[in-house]
Structure formats: structure tokens, C-alpha cells
């Protein structure tokens, strides 16, 4: 499963960053595909990006000022249209529709930056921590979603009513990796513009890369606002993980491989689960599996009694 997921992640990264000409000329793709978003964090200022990033798109729509003028006379319908015309309903609708079917699966299977984190974690270091680090840090991504992606672009506005994509500007390491490091190499004119912001963002990226070697997916677990949006839908999505307690032999293998540090036996529909399915793959009794239309339904079987195999490696 892990190898198959790696192949899917690689294909997804190539597909969403397939504008080869951009990597040669340093110019970004400006074709019609940029009308739509990918369901992953993928900077649209990357020379190879073919579509827009949903987190960037939400911020620029909010930051661009809405069509609602509170001082003008309005009927209820024109007010509603005004508010909606300034809200990123297209992106939110797209992300919600996708999450209704598969929850946070695009984090585990499609996200280029998620794949990058998986690859970096394979670098051998003297010590690693199982799972996703301190649990309290997992709530940070919700604060980032509400604060930096929604409230700051809405309310920190200039005299013309425009704002900035604060998450992209101050945090997003995917933008630094995919665009910030590449574009100054490809476009020498940009090198003169590098300053404190660039130093901050590169430092943050370096820090995260260091953390990636120790923890699994620190950005997904702690900081990603897209994961924060998708996460709560894990509980109700059409295709979701289900645990069959009658099959479980309590070997703990699933807990050892979970990149989010979850105990899938107790919390297989947690908001932190990135739906990588490694737990289901490693389970010797298939006690954890994806359920949904077209897939085998959960069956109540006799309690498992076999001794589980020894734990295979968890990535190192």
C-alpha cells in the first residue's frame, strides 16, 4: 500500500506541476486550468503549477474586497448576493464536495507537500518520534485556518479595502519550496528583491524540514489550514475508515505506523487522520478498512485469535 501511495503521490505531483516550460523560462502557466483549484496545497506561483491553490484562492478572494457595500440601500437578496460575491463560495463548495466523499484522503494521497514530508522523513536520523508530536499542537492548524486564512485577509485591509494572503506570505512552506526558491534561480531580476521576508520563510522551511526528519508530517498535523478544513469531514464522509473490534488482536501495529500519532482502534475517524490507509494495510486481521459503496461491507466476524506477525519498519 505504501509503495502504491508513493506512486499516486508522485503522479499527482507531476500532474499538478506539469508545466515543464515554466521550469525552463521561469514564467508561470497562464492557461485556462488556472480557473480551478487542486484539492491540495500547491502554490500557484510555482513555475510548474497548472491549477490554483485552494488556500491561496480563498485568501485572494477574501482579500480582494467583496461586492457588499454596507452603506448602500439593499434588499435582503442584493445584500446576500453582495456578501456571497465577496466570499470564496466556489472554492469552499469544491473542497466541501470532495470532503463529503473522501474526507481528508487528498492529504494522504495527492498533496505534493505531504509527499515531500513523507520523503524527508525517510532520511535516517539518530532519533525519531512516533506519530504527530504533541497533541496540543494539532489545534494550531484550526487557529491558522480561522485567523490567517479568513479573518486577517478580511479585516487587515489597506485604505482601498484590499488585504493580503497572510498565510501564504508569512507561513506557507509549500510556496517557499515550490516558488520562492526556484523563481530567483530562474529569474535573476528577482534576486535583488530578496529580503527579510524571504529569510523568514526560508528559515521556517528549513526548521520544518528538520522537524520532518524527526516527526511524521509535522506541517499536516500542526499547521495546514487545508487539513483543518478537510479533517472534520472524516467522521461523516461517504468513504471512511471503520474499525471492526471483533477482528482486532490488539497488536498495536496500526498505532505504530500512523503518521498522525493516532490510535486507529479508538479514533479511526479522527480529524487528524490523513487517510493514508497505512493502518489498514499493516493490520494482520484487516480490522481497519475503508467502507463505502462498492467496497466490501463491514462484517461481524468471530474474534481473532491468531498471534500477529512482528512489526515491520515504520519508514526508517
Amino acid at each position: 500500500m505504501s509503495e502504491r501511495r508513493t506512486v499516486v503521490q508522485a503522479l499527482s505531483t507531476l500532474l499538478t506541476n506539469g508545466y515543464v516550460k515554466g521550469f525552463v523560462t521561469g514564467n508561470i502557466y497562464t492557461g485556462p486550468l488556472k480557473h480551478v483549484c487542486v484539492p491540495t496545497l500547491n502554490c500557484y506561483s510555482c513555475p510548474g503549477a497548472l491549477c490554483a491553490c485552494p488556500v491561496g484562492a480563498v485568501q485572494v478572494v477574501l482579500a480582494g474586497g467583496g461586492g457588499f457595500d454596507p452603506t448602500a440601500p439593499h434588499t435582503i437578496w442584493t445584500k446576500l448576493a453582495g456578501i456571497l460575491s465577496g466570499a470564496p463560495v466556489f472554492v469552499i463548495g469544491f473542497l466541501t464536495l470532495l470532503a463529503a466523499f473522501v474526507g481528508r484522503a487528498s492529504c494522504g494521497w495527492l498533496c505534493p507537500f505531504g509527499w515531500f514530508q513523507d520523503l524527508v522523513h525517510r532520511i535516517p536520523v539518530p532519533f525519531t518520534k512516533r506519530g504527530g508530536g504533541a497533541r496540543g499542537l494539532h489545534y494550531l492548524k484550526y487557529l491558522i485556518l480561522v485567523g490567517m486564512v479568513v479573518l486577517m485577509p478580511l479585516f487587515l485591509v489597506d485604505s482601498f479595502g484590499f488585504s493580503e494572503p497572510y498565510f501564504c506570505k508569512l507561513v506557507c512552506p509549500a510556496g517557499t519550496l515550490e516558488g520562492g526558491l526556484l523563481l530567483p534561480i530562474l529569474q535573476p531580476d528577482l534576486r535583488g528583491m530578496l529580503g527579510k521576508l524571504f529569510a523568514w520563510k526560508v528559515s521556517l522551511l528549513v526548521l520544518l524540514i528538520g522537524l520532518m526528519t524527526v516527526f511524521r508530517r509535522p506541517f499536516c498535523n500542526w499547521l495546514c489550514p487545508l487539513g483543518a478544513w478537510f479533517g472534520p469531514f472524516n467522521r461523516i464522509s461517504l468513504y471512511r475508515l471503520e474499525f471492526d473490534k471483533n477482528k482486532c488482536v490488539q497488536c498495536g501495529l496500526c498505532m505504530k505506523v500512523c503518521p498522525s500519532g493516532l490510535d486507529p482502534v479508538r479514533e479511526c475517524d479522527s480529524s487528524d487522520c490523513v487517510r493514508c490507509l497505512d493502518c489498514g494495510h499493516i493490520c494482520p486481521k484487516q480490522a481497519i478498512a475503508v467502507r463505502g459503496p462498492g467496497l466490501p461491507s463491514a462484517t461481524t466476524s468471530r474474534p481473532a485469535d491468531a498471534v500477529p506477525p512482528s512489526a515491520p519498519g515504520t519508514g526508517h
Partner: protein
């Protein structure tokens, strides 16, 4: 493991049934918002922003 009482079993099954249908409400909401966004021309706004290099976004500007 202690067997579930009838009431607990009923609650569990009702919760399961709600969860089984909640995705439909969420999907419908998503589809409506998506259609509304298209009708309001949001893809054009996204296109306009996504076709210019956002120097701030990548830490340059």
C-alpha cells in the same frame, strides 16, 4: 466486554444512520456553493490572481 443495553444500542444505531446520511447533506451544500461560485464568476477572480506571480506568497515581495 459488557453487552450494550437496548437504549445504548438504539442510540448507536441512530447515530450510525445519521452519519450515513450526513455526507449527502454536506455534498449537496458543497455542490450548491460550487454552482453559486461559478454563477458569481469566482473562477475568473481566481484565474486573474493565479496567472500572475504572487511575490508575497512565495516570500519575495
Amino acid at each position: 466486554m459488557r453487552p450494550m443495553s437496548d437504549r445504548t444500542a438504539f442510540r448507536e444505531s441512530r447515530r450510525g444512520a445519521l452519519r450515513n446520511h450526513a455526507w449527502l447533506a454536506v455534498a449537496a451544500t458543497g455542490a450548491v456553493l460550487l454552482a453559486l461560485g461559478i454563477a458569481l464568476g469566482e473562477p475568473a477572480k481566481i484565474f486573474e490572481k493565479a496567472t500572475a506571480i504572487c511575490l508575497q506568497c512565495i516570500g519575495i515581495g
